[in-house]
């Protein structure tokens, strides 16, 4: 527990949207593919420091990273063709980020207003007549059962479901594929670089090579996350159906 608290403090961000929004706002940009592409490298660099977070948390950062990689690749290599699904992922990330932005702003207002003007409920009445009124539902056995059921229904730590792991693995594959595609596109569209305007050909190639190196680091980060899966677990709420069983 203690090490988790420490890590969260070091990380300083509650999830990928928080980080991403912060990076965009720092540059005073609006949320769109251009701004997302501009902050991608910083986001990926930040992800390198994530080791030690719970895998479930890492995977939420990785899922967003995958989409950012697509956006960045497209901005580096306009000739790179994205699939419809990939285009959809990009649009979806932008929409979710805007939604998150809305609620982050509201959260700031709530921070200001919370506890400022409180509506108080009355204090407990001392004069309430106490008459002993038991209930036939109270017995030695029923009380023991209630206590036991309650203890059972407290959230347990359970192993991360396999789906989560699979999702992360498929992102790793996706990054591999993306890396290949970029390298191929780089070979194929070489003439594109000769028409460099403000930046020289060498600079552009350097940018892309640097980006590929970054991809490799992210890939390694994901592998770390997967390796941690077996040793880590997450908190999960008891499901409703089992609660109901205890009702009966």
């Amino acid at each position: 527990m203690e090490s988790d608290i420490y890590q969260i403090k070091v990380a300083g961000f509650e999830g990928p949207f928080n980080l991403l929004l912060n990076l965009i706002e720092k540059r005073k940009l609006f949320i769109n593919d251009v701004s997302l592409s501009q902050v991608t490298e910083e986001y990926l660099a930040y992800m390198q420091k994530l080791g030690g977070l719970k895998p479930s948390e890492v995977s939420s950062f990785v899922l967003v990273a995958a989409t950012l990689l697509l956006i960045k690749s497209k901005s580096l290599l306009p000739t790179l063709d994205l699939t419809l699904e990939e285009e959809g992922d990009i649009k979806n990330l932008e929409e979710r980020l805007r939604l998150f932005e809305t609620f982050s702003k509201l959260a700031e207002n709530i921070k200001k207003d919370f506890g400022r003007n409180i509506i108080f409920a009355p204090l407990e009445r001392k004069s309430d007549v106490v008459v002993f009124l038991p209930d036939s539902q109270i017995s030695k056995e029923s009380m023991m059962t209630f206590a036991r059921n309650l203890l059972d229904s407290m959230p347990k730590k359970v192993f991360l479901p396999e789906v989560e792991v699979k999702k992360v693995i498929s992102i790793e594959e996706m990054i591999d594929r993306l890396g290949e595609r970029i390298q191929n596109a780089l070979k194929m569209s070489f003439k594109e670089f000769s028409g460099g305007k403000a930046v020289t050909k060498e600079e552009r190639i350097n940018t892309i090579v640097g980006f590929l190196a970054m991809l490799e680091m992210v890939r390694n980060g994901i592998i770390d996350a997967i390796q941690e899966e077996n040793s880590e677990d997450i908190i999960i709420e008891k499901t409703i159906s089992t609660n109901r069983e205890s009702n009966a």
Partner: protein, 195 residues
């Protein structure tokens, strides 16, 4: 002769905890419509007074006027906890402005798993969970009376820009349906733990 309005006032005063529309109708032997119209009169009578009527999810309670907050706080011995973490603030803003939201929707908007934060907020009494009438396998989280009290509003509608925000996020929530990945992720969680 005491009318419905004063009877409701007496019940809420006597109970000193939230009373549902249904319960009021039963006790007073009148229709929900009659209760609501009497409640609306009671609200008017309480304007500019020391007591206010709070309304939340068809439940009603009396409390002290938010304008007198600092004054009443001096009479209060219990320590008030005004600290909220960033995660809690984000989660509360979603629950307040959507006024009834599932965990998967909260996770979708925040981009992280919120189960820990939701439990902590529920323990503090700031949110309430009920079984989703549309899907009995999941919960719906709503603001509690305690939360509205701390925000100093008599109902969620009094929150700044409530209608505007609530309408805009309704639209955005439609996009959620497309995102089956998150949903199925949660459902499989549920499945695996019931086995």
């Amino acid at each position: 002769m005491h009318n419905l309005e004063s009877k409701i006032e007496a019940i809420l005063f006597f109970k000193s905890e939230p009373v549902s529309l249904k319960k009021l109708g039963e006790v007073l032997k009148v229709s929900p419509g009659e209760v609501l119209s009497a409640i609306s009169n009671l609200k008017t009578s309480l304007e500019n007074r020391g007591i206010v009527l709070i309304e939340n999810n068809n439940e009603f309670a009396l409390g002290t006027s938010p304008d007198l907050s600092s004054f009443i706080e001096e009479l209060q011995k219990e320590e008030l906890n005004r600290d909220l973490s960033k995660a809690s603030l984000e989660t509360l803003s979603i629950i307040l402005y959507k006024n009834g939201v599932s965990r998967s929707e909260i996770d979708y908007i925040r981009g992280v798993n919120s189960s820990f934060t939701l439990r902590a907020l529920s323990i503090r009494g700031l949110i309430e969970k009920t079984i989703d009438p549309k899907d009995s396998r999941r919960y719906i989280y709503k603001p509690s009376f305690e939360l509205l009290s701390y925000m100093g509003v008599k109902s969620v509608e009094e929150l700044p820009d409530y209608f505007e925000v609530n309408a805009s996020v309704e639209v955005a929530a439609k996009g959620l349906e497309d995102l089956s990945a998150v949903e199925s992720g949660e459902n499989s969680n549920v499945d695996s733990s019931t086995k």
